[in-house]
């Protein structure tokens, strides 16, 4: 039998093409916003971190459940003879996308860059005195005092190549006062599982699989190409998934989840996010301008706060406003955080009669009126949550005037010094997965870098001292006891009125199975393709 050369060639080509087709899997990924910049230290913001995390990596990383794992560092410890020094061993053999090797110089350079005034990550490293090279694969990070928490922040500091940054004049984090664009804004050279191919901001970003990735054997790394397209409009984003133009959608509108679940060939993954939604109020003694009570502040009375906490029907908000996509809670701490317990998480049962009685005891039998500030473009159904809560407080006689506005206005009210709101909604995620992060930003007295999100004016010397002690306490048991102690006081004080932990849903074609990431930064290297 004579087989012609051509048909043999054709068969050969056909088989290689088949293999090629099986290996080349593109994922078209859409969410509502684009990464703002590729500069690894330019913007500390969700979508930016999520996209950039595929190109750049840090010393450590967190998996989708929030567990801290080694990444560019293989191990770390506090030096036994000096509690102020953290030692990181750098993973050997890691190459940047341009082929150069990762060394301690790059790590030191990246930490210095992240600590510059124009970096948006300097807030995570305020405690760091310096990063210094010990040898090619060892770095010491020296802190002002003993800092048992430092390693929790390392997963957010991306490492870039010193030589590359110097070559392209990008040794400083992007500066908005500049007249020119920083090279690192649209170009990247990291060590991550994907390599930047092209970037058109707000339009399309293409990345291809890094075949020399150090973690090649350890992660499935099944997706060979990622095409990231931001689609701002909810309806369009869902339509693009339904029409098959997109494989994976983040920021799925809650009202569409049921419909998508019944869609053929689609998969919906849901899970809790590392974010709690709650109300805060001005608890100082000063008379408020925003209420109709003369001479005193009703929120300063603990009974009023407890009454308002009791009036919120959390399960109704979960059912009606969130369509099941939330977990009602009684504490402003997501369940993954050190210090979380079931008891703390329990919310008071809704009891209008008891709430009314508490209000009457506090001297407000007929209630009072006040103003609530609410964002309308930041959290899932934020404005609707406020509307529902306003109705619930109305039932106990508290007349709440609702002001909903864009996040750029809303958050300014909270951050201004003194704050320009007496009653507001806010959501809080805990990137360090430790209670201290919540205490220091939301409960500690606003001074210096502490309490920057504490617009409640809550200030308690004892609590402050305990919060500060957490930063240097190296005995884990003792530390956990202090955390539990602080939470007990704070929960009893009802400074904030917790609503729920926000849930996340990802919608995708059923060929992919992308788990919900608690930080909402999907890690696509760990996705296998069927």
């Amino acid at each position: 039998m004579k087989v012609s050369k051509t048909s043999l060639w054709a068969a050969l080509i056909a088989t290689t093409m088949l293999v090629g087709a099986a290996e080349a899997r593109t994922l078209k990924w859409a969410r509502s916003g684009d990464s703002l910049t590729l500069d690894p230290h330019g913007q500390n913001e969700g979508p930016t971190t999520a996209l950039n995390g595929h190109i750049y990596e840090a010393l450590t990383e967190r998996d989708h459940t929030g567990k801290l794992l080694p990444a560019l560092a293989t191990s770390w410890r506090v030096l036994p003879d000096d509690a102020k020094v953290w030692e990181f061993k750098i993973r050997p053999g890691v190459k940047f996308h341009d082929g150069s090797a990762l060394t301690a110089d790059d790590v030191v350079f990246s930490y210095q860059r992240a600590m510059q005034p124009t970096s948006d990550f300097k807030g995570l490293l305020t405690d760091v005195v310096e990063a210094k090279k010990v040898d090619d694969l060892t770095v010491h990070i020296v802190t002002k005092g003993p800092n048992p928490l430092l390693v929790n922040n390392t997963q957010q500091i991306h490492i870039m190549s010193k030589a590359w940054a110097e070559k392209h004049n990008a040794t400083k984090a992007q500066d908005f006062k500049n007249k020119e664009e920083n090279h690192s804004v649209r170009n990247a050279n990291g060590t991550g599982p994907y390599i930047l191919v092209s970037r058109e901001p707000d339009v399309k970003t293409v990345m291809k699989r890094n075949d020399n990735y150090w973690g090649k054997g350890a992660v499935p790394h099944g997706i060979s190409e990622i095409i990231y397209t931001p689609i701002k409009q909810d309806a369009t984003r869902v339509a693009a998934l339904l029409s098959g133009e997109i494989d994976f959608v983040q920021d799925v509108p809650v009202q569409d989840i049921e419909r998508l679940k019944s869609g053929k060939g689609l998969r919906i993954n849901s899970g809790p996010e590392n974010r709690t939604i709650f109300f805060g109020m001005n608890v100082s003694k000063d008379d408020l301008k925003s209420d109709n009570v003369e001479g005193k502040n009703p929120f300063a009375d603990k009974r009023v706060r407890q009454a308002m906490n009791m009036a919120i029907n959390r399960s109704a908000i979960q059912r009606v406003v969130m369509r099941g996509e939330s977990v009602p809670t009684g504490v402003i701490m997501p369940p993954f955080v050190t210090g979380w317990t079931k008891e703390l998480d329990a919310a008071p049962t809704t009891d209008v009669a008891a709430a009314k009685k508490l209000l009457a005891d506090a001297g407000y039998p007929n209630g009072f009126s006040t103003t609530l500030h609410c964002p309308n473009d930041r959290y899932v159904n934020d404005e609707a949550i406020c509307q529902a809560a306003v109705g619930m407080w109305g039932q106990i006689g508290i007349k709440v005037n609702l002001v909903s506005q864009s996040k750029s206005i809303h958050f300014t009210l909270i951050q201004k010094n003194p704050p320009e709101t007496d009653f507001y909604l806010v959501g809080w995620g805990v990137p360090t997965f430790d209670s201290h992060y919540i205490f220091s930003f939301l409960y500690q007295t606003r001074t210096g870098s502490a309490g920057s999100w504490n617009a409640t004016r809550y200030s308690d010397k004892d609590v402050d001292a305990k919060i500060v002690s957490l930063t240097t306490e190296t005995n884990i048991e003792k530390r956990n006891a202090t955390i539990a102690d602080i939470w007990k006081t704070l929960k009893d004080e009802a400074i904030y009125l917790p609503v729920h932990h926000q849930s996340l849903s990802y919608a995708m074609k059923d060929a992919f199975d992308i788990p919900v990431d608690v930080s909402n930064t999907p890690k696509l290297k760990s996705v296998a393709v069927k």
Partner: protein, 328 residues
């Protein structure tokens, strides 16, 4: 003529300064860009420092003066959202918007005139009833709904056309065009229909009304008396006289289509100036907002100036003297 042009130009510059002034006085109400520019870990002091570095703590007349000083030099600064030069952003986004706007205007004018003439000639027919009813839909339905409806039918159900984006584009110098690739052309269809629909109904109704008016004029009656065929009267005499106001309206509409394609661009994730502006507003990205509003004002000034000058050339009555008799 020359004096007239100079006067119009001076007025145009005044308009630009006024727009800049008004928009700057309003930027205080869109929020504080610093709140969006720093992560949640930033301290009160960090925020204050950044605001001072960017000059946001200065009183707004000072900020305005600084902006105008730089604008005269052609510098609009760096976007607070993207860290890129504003002039680059506008240059990058302009082709998408212009392509969309010009095609929409062409589509609206062509079909608007066709349907209008048809509806005017066959006033009572079934066809014109359908057209007139359809035009009511176009006038009353919001652009947003039309866009979503089209996406649902043609992308989700029929899967003929893409639901978002511009498809593959080809670079011609700094200009990008989607007209030279198949995916680019396909991507244009739905946004063009959406953006052009309102203009189409507007032009159609205008043409129909004008045409009905002209058909009653004396010169049409005389033309009929001369025994000219009806079709020739309709197309050669009546339509031509109808088109003068239509061209004016269509020209002016082009300006507003370029400036206000915002809704269509948002629905279709069209990477044009409108989408850029929407993102800028949400982020309180002052440099981009300021530059965009100046750009829109400039477009209107140029379009108006051109129309003014065209009038001057087209209508002899505008020239001094007014010796020419009235009439079409």
């Amino acid at each position: 003529m020359f004096a007239y042009a100079i006067r119009s130009l001076a007025q145009g510059l005044l308009v630009l300064v006024a727009v800049a002034f008004i928009s700057f006085s309003m930027f205080r109400f869109v929020g504080d860009p610093v709140a969006n520019m720093v992560g949640q870990e930033a301290s009160v002091q960090d925020r204050q420092e950044l605001a001072e570095r960017l000059g946001l703590t200065d009183p707004w007349p000072v900020q305005f003066a600084r902006f105008m000083g730089n604008a005269v030099k052609g510098e609009f600064g760096v976007s607070y959202r993207q860290g890129r030069k504003v002039s680059d952003l506008i240059k990058e986004r302009l082709p998408a918007t212009v392509e969309l706007a010009v095609l929409s205007a062409a589509f609206a004018t062509l079909f608007g005139v066709l349907f209008g003439v048809y509806a005017a000639i066959n006033r009572t027919g079934l066809g014109s009833n359908i057209i007139m009813t359809g035009s009511l839909v176009g006038v009353s339905l919001p652009t947003f709904l039309i866009g979503i409806g089209l996406i649902f039918i043609f992308s989700v159900e029929l899967r003929w056309l893409p639901s978002f984006g511009r498809g593959e584009t080809v670079k011609l110098g700094w200009w990008t065009t989607g007209l030279l690739t198949e995916s680019g052309r396909k991507s244009l269809i739905l946004p063009v229909l959406t953006l052009g629909f309102f203009q189409l109904t507007l032009i159609m109704r205008l043409v129909r009304a004008e045409m009905l008016e002209v058909m009653r004029a004396d010169f049409i009656r005389f033309a009929r008396a001369r025994g000219i065929p009806e079709r020739a009267i309709q197309l050669r005499h009546a339509l031509r006289n109808t088109l003068v106001p239509v061209v004016t309206i269509a020209g002016l509409q082009l300006g507003s289509v370029i400036a206000f394609a915002i809704v269509t661009e948002t629905v279709f994730q069209w990477p044009g100036l409108g989408a850029l502006f929407v993102n800028a507003v949400q982020f309180a990205d002052v440099p981009v907002m300021a530059a965009y509003l100046m750009f829109v004002a400039a477009v209107f000034v140029v379009v108006n100036l051109t129309v003014d000058l065209l009038y001057f050339l087209l209508d002899p009555r505008l020239r001094s003297g007014a010796k020419i008799a009235k009439g079409h």
